[in-house]
């Protein structure tokens, strides 16, 4: 299975057998292709599976779609869950609106108010939408729906046509709203052991709220809200 290499052999005169047995294996396994298992991935295979799109546009395919075309696709494939204007239905996500709500008591995190990159919209619609038939839209349809949802959020004009050149240029309103470095730990509790506080007040109790499904018997479908 594995071959012995020059370095370990040189060590042979100075090392004991136990160490020798492990050194060549570790050394060789660091080489690319050491095991040689599997098949080389061809360009065609990679192209078919490599569907991710980055903010700089890397991964966006040929094709295009307009806001108007997107409206038609949206009404057929998206509106039943997201509402005709992206207002959301039931617990399915709202896609538009919520501008300036991020500091409010009940923030609405939508494409317009929250999403930092337009590329993510194309990537996600393409990989996972429509929810009930993922990866069933053509690239042109994905461009069109992307344009439509951006327009619903007043991020692009009604004559916008999305393609691999225009989409990476779209600036999202909340682009600068993120810190991409974890600041935690930010809370520093102390390990106090005695007389740690003067008084203890219970401010909230789950008792009597009737929101908890049963934890005995069969699955409890009764409590819907």
């Amino acid at each position: 299975m594995f071959s012995f290499h020059k370095t370990p052999r040189l060590l042979a005169s100075t090392c004991c057998g136990v160490i020798l047995a492990s050194v060549p294996i570790l050394g060789a396994a660091e080489q690319t292709g050491y095991y040689g298992y599997g098949e080389p991935a061809t360009d065609e295979q990679i192209a078919a599976w490599d569907i991710d799109v980055r903010p700089d546009g890397m991964g966006l395919p040929e094709g295009s779609g307009s806001v108007d075309e997107g409206m038609a696709v949206f009404e057929t494939h998206c509106a039943s869950c997201h509402g005709a204007f992206g207002e959301g239905m039931g617990r399915y996500p709202k896609l538009a609106g919520g501008d300036g709500s991020l500091t409010e008591d009940r923030p609405e995190k939508t494409v317009g108010s929250y999403w930092p990159y337009a590329s993510t919209l194309w990537d996600y619609i393409h990989r996972a939408m429509p929810f009930f038939a993922p990866q069933s839209l053509t690239d042109d349809q994905v461009y069109a729906v992307t344009a439509y949802v951006l327009n619903l959020n007043y991020i692009v004009e009604a004559d916008f046509v999305a393609n691999k050149e225009t989409l990476p240029q779209v600036e999202m309103p909340n682009h600068d709203g993120f810190i991409w470095e974890d600041p935690r730990p930010v809370v520093n509790n102390e390990r106090c052991m005695e007389n740690c506080k003067e008084e203890v007040t219970v401010s909230e109790s789950a008792a009597g709220k009737n929101l908890t499904p049963s934890t005995t018997g069969p699955l409890d479908e009764g409590i819907t809200e």
Partner: protein, 443 residues
């Protein structure tokens, strides 16, 4: 085939149980005996094993000699794949219907109140699917590794198992665990409050071994992991972590991964948000920048009170919870009882756990049960003499980095109430005079 047989078996058991419960105890005994000796066969035998104790328990204490001591039980391979006793039927994953739009993109919770030790049985490991659970034939599944690598490859599941394997015990926790409680106490249940955490022994191939095999180009800094499910779930992971302790796992507690856990393969990213442990893994791509996918921008980012959001908050900070007593497991009587619970940290080992019975005024150090392992659940216990008065129980973990689990008030002060994720605050259980236990929050 086997699954169908098991279901039949359980159905038979249920029917027999209902049958026997209608009979007086003497008749019940006769019913059981006749069942065993006249019908024979694995199915009826299996049914008997299930019904005997429950139907007769009230009359079988000493000095009685129970019938199961005086008869033969069903033979081996009655259940070719063993299932829990029917008396454990309450010990199941459960969901909160009002939490999500449907069960396809949803979550179920581990019944922590019933579990012992630190390992979660495979059938009780919490579930989080973004597009349901795919049914994947491992023969038809491939893992592609490509991008900024010297040798892009496609591996079959058999290929993967030829690489050197490792096993490690790690918890996985959804960062939304407890996320329903930022604004107040809502759910009165350990299972629903904290059951988005589970722990298993994972076996697979070190990601570093696979990346070594394909050869990372010098510009490679990030890894994209992608699932084969209908969400094609993705996360960007920095190579530093990928090369540290991440594995491509094909086994869970000694057997193949369960479908709910990513069969045939998943990523295990110890100590990091559950959603980074991409299930049904089909593709790993090396790149020079993160991909800013939906699940790391619009979701799994933490909104702060000032309107900014924190992204790439991967680590699950230290957390602990008392699992007994809890709302599902009230105290039975005054006197000596064992307070037990679980503690864990995404940054390493649990160093200590303290327990308070007076709402955090005074604390006592609990005992840690071996084994205490990095990025694993750790069980703790403390003996307590309950005097029958109301009490406020809390546990507080300290991990090996010195991090002390915060109070909810401290956490809310820092994060507000709209961050959804990473609520690792100290849990308070109120013990009432009758021994019942309620989820409460302190101001």
């Amino acid at each position: 085939m086997l699954g169908k047989l098991r279901r039949l078996n359980q159905d038979a058991s249920k029917i027999a149980l209902e049958e026997s419960e209608r009979l007086p105890s003497e008749e019940r005994r006769r019913f059981l005996r006749s069942g065993l000796f006249t019908a024979g066969g694995a199915m009826v035998g299996g049914a008997l094993a299930g019904i005997a104790p429950k139907a007769l328990a009230s009359t079988q204490f000493p000095p009685e000699i129970p019938p199961w001591t005086r008869t033969l039980g069903p033979g081996v391979v009655t259940d070719p794949y063993g299932v829990p006793s029917p008396f454990e039927k309450d010990v199941i994953r459960r969901n909160v219907p009002w939490l999500t739009a449907d069960k396809v993109s949803s979550i179920s919770f581990t019944p922590l109140q019933h579990l012992k030790g630190i390992i979660t049985p495979n059938g009780l490991f919490f579930e989080r699917h973004h597009a349901g659970r795919p049914e994947i034939d491992p023969q038809q599944h491939r893992l592609m590794i490509h991008g900024l690598v010297d040798r892009p490859i496609i591996l079959s599941m058999e290929d993967l198992q030829r690489f050197p394997s490792v096993s490690q015990i790690n918890f996985i926790e959804c960062p939304a665990n407890g996320g329903m409680e930022w604004r107040g106490a809502q759910l009165n249940s350990l299972q629903f409050l904290h059951g988005m955490v589970s722990c298993a022994e994972w076996t697979g191939v070190r990601l570093s071994t696979l990346l070594q095999e394909v050869g990372i180009k010098p510009e490679g800094k990030w890894l994209l992991a992608e699932g084969a499910d209908g969400a094609a779930m993705t996360r960007s992971i920095p190579l530093e972590k990928a090369l540290d302790d991440v594995i491509v796992a094909y086994a869970q507690n000694g057997e193949a991964l369960r479908r709910e856990q990513g069969y045939p393969i998943r990523l295990v990213v110890p100590g990091w948000e559950g959603n980074t442990h991409v299930k049904w893994l089909r593709r790993l791509e090396v790149g020079d920048k993160p991909w800013m996918q939906r699940e790391e921008t619009s979701k799994y980012t933490d909104l702060m009170p000032d309107g900014t959001a924190h992204g790439f908050t991967w680590v699950m900070e230290a957390k602990s919870v008392i699992t007994s007593p809890c709302p599902e497991m009230p105290l039975k009587s005054k006197g000596v009882c064992q307070i037990e619970g679980l503690a864990w940290s995404g940054r390493g080992k649990v160093k200590a756990v303290d327990v308070s019975v007076d709402g955090g005024q005074n604390w006592q150090q609990a005992q840690l049960r071996e084994p205490v392992m990095s990025k694993s659940l750790t069980r703790f216990s403390l003996e307590w003499k309950w005097d029958g008065n109301p009490a406020l129980l809390q546990s507080r973990v300290i991990d090996e980095t010195g991090y002390v689990q915060p109070t909810l008030a401290q956490l809310k002060q820092a994060r507000g109430t709209n961050s959804i994720y990473h609520k690792n605050a100290i849990q308070t259980w109120k013990v009432n005079g009758d021994g019942s236990v309620v989820n409460v929050q302190l101001s």
